[in-house]
């Protein structure tokens, strides 16, 4: 005779993975990994933003220096220097890749030296060079050697200050830094996956008795692997949330310290809304990686059983 089924019977997981001693370790491990990953990723994305800005704003321009003419008569010396500047401007304007040639005004030059010499400095009393800002056409490539030659022909007082030369070194350095950070990210993923791999294998060893019974009841490997995947995905998600919660203030702190650096180069390293979205979605990513690692670890390990 069929009896009335109980209204509610809570289903317990066949594999008591919640009580595994490795679970808290894995949660802490994933939290640390996600924290490191988030901070490093923020660094990578900041460097990337800087590189884009540098390439866009600085690579499209160059600076020409006009060395001051030495003369006891200061007014005459200034007039001669400005005459050399004019010659250089004329020569620069004939170059096809050049879009705009703008000599720096006295006011601009004064602003540049203000941090060192203060206000009220008369430029004609100082042996400082005049500067010409040259903007290049978008996408245009400039033969710097030829330009330097042309300027030398126009006036011996002109010299090319090649941003590209020092910037390319800076870009190579930043690129290297970026690759290093990317390698660190891969390393973090590998170490975390390795930790999940070994803790899962340990857990399989602990629960081999239950697994044998489940197999005997007709459970496929996927059934057992799913239980591990579900549990590890949860640990990955929770660990990921903790990691991101710790990483966000850290990123703000580093960003605040970076913005205090004078020169404006580091201040270009701002994270976009999209970058923040990526950082905030890291718990999902860690959950997914954890889930897949656990799933395939179980599947591969069980293959060795009958």
């Amino acid at each position: 005779m069929l009896k009335q089924a109980p209204i509610f019977i809570a289903r317990k997981q066949e594999l008591p993975l919640d009580s595994d001693s490795s679970s808290p370790f894995l949660k802490v491990m994933i939290s640390i990994a996600v924290f490191l990953f988030a901070v490093t990723l923020a660094g990578v994305m900041s460097i990337n933003a800087m590189l884009i800005n540098w390439n866009e704003s600085i690579l499209g321009s160059l600076t020409v220096q006009i060395m001051p003419v030495n003369n006891i008569d200061k007014a005459k010396a200034t007039a001669q220097t400005l005459a050399h500047q004019e010659k250089a401007i004329e020569a620069l304007k004939t170059i096809e890749a050049v879009e705009k040639v703008s000599p720096l005004e006295d006011k601009q030059l004064q602003a540049l030296i203000r941090p060192w010499l203060g206000d009220g400095v008369k430029l004609e009393n100082l042996p400082i060079p005049r500067l010409i800002d040259v903007k290049l056409k978008k996408g245009a490539t400039l033969d710097f050697a030829q330009t330097a030659e042309k300027l030398a022909e126009a006036t011996p007082y002109a010299s090319l200050d090649n941003h590209k030369l020092w910037l390319s070194k800076l870009i190579s350095f930043a690129d290297g830094l970026k690759m290093l950070a990317l390698a660190a990210l891969v390393l973090v993923i590998l170490i975390t996956s390795g930790a999940i791999f070994y803790t899962t294998q340990t857990s399989l060893g602990l629960h081999c008795y239950i697994i044998e019974i489940l197999h005997q009841m007709g459970a496929k490997d996927a059934y057992i692997a799913q239980q591990y995947a579900k549990r590890t995905a949860w640990l990955g998600l929770v660990g990921g949330c903790i990691g991101v919660l710790l990483a966000v203030p850290t990123i703000f702190l580093i960003s605040g310290l970076a913005s205090q650096i004078e020169g404006g180069i580091i201040s270009e390293a701002r994270l976009s809304a999209f970058s923040w979205l990526i950082i905030l979605s890291l718990p999902l990513f860690s959950g997914l990686i954890s889930m897949l690692t656990a799933y395939y670890t179980v599947k591969n390990t069980l293959q060795k059983m009958m």
Binding site: M1, L2, K3, Q4, A5, P6, I9, R11, K12, E14, P16, I210, E212, I213, L214, H215, Q216, M217, G218, A219, K220, D221, Y223, L302, Q303, M306
Partner: protein
């Protein structure tokens, strides 16, 4: 699913040998053919290899040599998922019950249904019905640790038959129960056999066997002898039942 008709061979063994590691063969040159709907006792002294032979039948172990076919499939050439599907058609009662201690009686019995992906509503219906049949309705939420040997045995049997298996393999099913329960359990096995389930019961209890006129698979000197139901005459290793 491969359909097996009444009288068709359900488990076949040809020249089967089994050894553990580099040790000697526990069983040698086993030839056997169990037909659907048959009932056999598996006998032999302790250490004769009853559990090893059963474990090959319930696909927990592959032979060291020879061919084992279950439901017409050679287990040596069957992939893991197909082996799992075959195991779903085999009910096993282990000598040590092998219940999961952290699960309730209900969850233990529900295990074979859940691994098959059965709807929870249907699982509840079947488990409640079967636990009532083995008179354990009151202990549905009890864990094995709180149950007596006989109660555990009944749960183990309920778990083995919940999936309506084609074969029921029982290893010393009456070994841990009181004398008054043993005949009841045997009656249960006979009833299942009448419903078409192939039954193999490993036992060393002569008293239990003597009450039933079923053929006997007897393990001796690493080989298998099959005694038929009527005269129990030795037919030699490798004969068919």
């Amino acid at each position: 699913m491969l359909k097996i008709n009444q009288g068709d061979p359900i488990i076949e063994m040809q020249n089967v040998g089994i050894r553990y590691g580099q040790g000697p063969e526990i069983l040698s040159d086993i030839k056997l053919s169990l037909k659907k709907g048959s009932f056999h006792f598996l006998t032999g002294k302790s250490g004769a290899g009853k559990t090893s032979l059963l474990s090959m039948m319930y696909l927990a172990q592959k032979p060291s040599r020879g061919i084992v076919s279950v439901f017409g499939k050679n287990v040596n050439f069957t992939n893991r998922d197909s082996l799992a599907m075959l195991r779903r058609r085999i009910g096993v009662v282990f000598q040590d019950f092998r219940l999961l201690d952290h699960l309730s009686a209900f969850d233990n019995v529900a295990l074979p249904l859940r691994v098959c992906g059965m709807e929870e509503q249907e699982v509840k219906k079947r488990v409640v019905e079967l636990l009532s049949w083995v008179e354990l309705s009151k202990h549905m939420q009890a864990t094995p640790a709180t149950l007596s040997g006989g109660e555990k045995q009944r749960i183990a049997i309920a778990r083995a038959v919940i999936n309506r298996p084609d074969i029921l393999l029982a290893d010393e099913p009456t070994g841990n129960v009181d004398n008054d329960i043993a005949p009841k359990l045997m009656k249960l096995f006979v009833e299942l056999n009448k419903l078409g389930t192939t039954v193999v019961i490993a036992t060393h209890s002569e008293k239990l066997i003597s009450d039933f006129a079923y053929p006997r698979l007897h393990l001796q000197n690493h080989g298998l002898r099959i005694y038929n139901a009527n005269d129990l005459t030795g037919m030699g290793g490798g004969s068919h039942a």
